[in-house]
Amino acid sequence: MRQGRAIRQRPASGARSFARRLALAAAVVFTLADAAPAIAAQPPHRVVSMNVCTDQLAMLLAGEGQLYSVSYLASDPSASVLAGEAGRYVVNHGLAEEVFLMSPDLVIAGTYTTRTTVALLRRLGFRVEEFAPVNSFADIREHITRMGEILGRQEKAAELIAQMDAELAGLSAQPPSRKTVALYYANNYTSGAGTLVDETVKAAGLVNIADKLDLQGTNQLPLELLVLNNPDLIVTSEGEYAAPALAEQGYVHPAFKALTAGRKAVNVPAKYTICGAPFTLEAARIMRDAAQEGKAQ
């Protein structure tokens, strides 16, 4: 998540992402209306995905032999939940040349990365479908539905959505604990209203402290404010990197250590929240369990 918001995704303003979605939806509808018979008759059979999020959605939905290549990040266990599965596909690095030589009949990409590559591939006559970053569970449903249509796997998509909704219902069936939680990522980043993680926090029956501080979207939560607000639970997202960086020094700051001494900090691996998918609910379960443990203590 930390990476997703801080580096890869550049948070869009709500209005802009809405407009983008509208445009995308229109484009999809238009394309579908235009080429509906062709798609229905012949789903793509050699698909290349260039984004760790579309990689995972495609892996969840694609039929046998349909997905040909996924990005190198798909097999990075710190970024991808399906890292183990990714080994079955050819790896790409989002380079136009590389994708061209794979001669796919469909390319799937994210809207915020590899923009020039996408433009080039389109000029070369490839069909490219783009997916915007996910900011809510509604976005996840929409993406799964669209991916299902693109891949001709509508049934599988409906199944996945039903499963996710059932899990969500299961979470909300439990009485909300109303405990406060602060999301505290590297470089002091936190997620407030309008982000998938914020929805995840709410799905877990918790109260995001960012709301109280009026922090919206992906924003910085100074260590001082974290200490001052003294939340019931702190959600961190420490990556397991081969080398250290200053970004994670917040986790070893004496004030942070004193705040979390022996209690109320839980690490939610970034891979669950970088991309929106049914597995994102795993993050909600981790947070809920941690909050309950706190109560037990």
Partner: protein, 334 residues
């Protein structure tokens, strides 16, 4: 009023200014805490609650580092100007901060400083020594002001490029984002750990630099004249080089490279001490501390929650000042 009395008064005023800014720095931050409460929390037991934690573990180290790093930059700027007899000399312009940054970057991002914490200030010190020696060698070869500044520019560019390279090659995805910290400096969320790591090196560096004051007075008349008046030039060089490297290296290791403080402060204070290099040292140290504390208060007031880098402010003020100084001294440059 005699010269000496005026000088004492100046030092008292500068010290008072630094103390006021130190206290102000303690009371500024994202958490809106009242003045009385924050000062009380400073002396409270640490277990007393979040206020004590904020004051003692977040704001106090920040203010202490602001004070010490500012003093380091002011003092080392004054010593370098006196030693090289060049009003344009200062740690950042001479590439000392940039090479110290490079040393610190190598120590941190390879994980070396995790296994050996002292490796961080030591690596920064080593980087700084390289820069001072290169600049000194250039200055020694009958180099004028221009030679020294150009050598500094070359060193800075090289060190900045190497820093970027090291950070870009790091397998940690955040490393590349931290180039800005190392180039522009910041005191955000520093801790007492950083204070304890850097303070001994800075204090030792200050002691060395304070020892060259008298010799710098004599050096006003040139190296030969100074040597003929009993100044041991080798000793002065050793103290100036190691003192600058130790204090600026340690400062840079915990706060990144912060430019122009060492240039502006000695220049502004020079007229008030009768241009006497030995008197400029304590005045610049106190003035540097005030300037850096003020800059660190401003970054928090101007852009709360945005983590504006200190070097941005110091450069906005310092770079035009530098241009003005170049304009004024341009006849002597060539």
């Amino acid at each position: 009023m005699s010269d000496t009395a005026r000088y004492r008064l100046l030092l008292i005023l500068l010290a008072a200014g630094a103390m006021i800014l130190f206290v102000l720095s303690l009371t500024v931050g994202p958490a809106a805490i009242g003045f009385g409460d924050s000062i009380a929390a400073l002396f409270d037991r640490k277990e007393a609650g979040p206020l004590a934690l904020i004051m003692q573990e977040i704001r106090l180290p920040r203010a202490i580092l602001g004070l010490m790093i500012g003093a380091t930059l002011g003092l080392s700027g004054a010593v370098l100007q006196g030693y090289l007899r060049n009003p344009l000399a200062e740690p950042a312009l001479l590439g000392i901060s940039a090479t110290a940054s490079l040393g610190a970057v190598l120590a941190i991002y390879t994980g070396f400083s995790l296994v050996f914490p002292l490796g961080l200030p030591l690596a920064a010190l080593a980087g700084a020594v390289v820069a001072v020696i290169v600049v000194q060698a250039m200055a020694g070869m009958r180099g004028g002001a221009l030679t020294i500044i150009l050598a500094g520019v070359a060193l800075s560019s090289l060190a900045a490029a190497m820093t970027s390279l090291a950070l870009n090659l790091s397998p940690n995805p955040f490393a590349a984002l931290e180039i800005m910290f190392w180039m522009l400096g910041s005191l955000t969320d520093r801790s007492m750990t950083h204070v304890w790591l850097a303070a001994p090196f800075m204090v030792v560096g200050w002691a060395m630099l304070a020892n060259v004051g008298r010799s710098l007075d004599t050096l006003t008349l040139g190296r030969d004249a100074a040597a003929s008046m009993g100044v041991d030039l080798r000793r002065v060089q050793l103290l100036a080089v190691l003192g600058t490297a130790a204090s600026v290296g340690a400062a840079t290791a915990v706060a990144g490279a912060i430019g122009f403080v060492g240039l502006v402060v000695p220049h502004l204070l020079r007229p008030f001490v009768g241009a006497r290099p030995s008197r400029l040292l304590p005045a610049s140290a106190l003035g540097g501390a005030s300037v850096l504390l003020a800059a660190d208060i401003l970054v928090r007031v101007i852009a709360p929650g945005k983590d504006l880098k200190l070097g941005v402010l110091t450069a906005i003020v310092g770079a035009p000042f530098f241009l003005w100084l170049v304009y004024r001294t341009r006849r002597n440059l060539l």
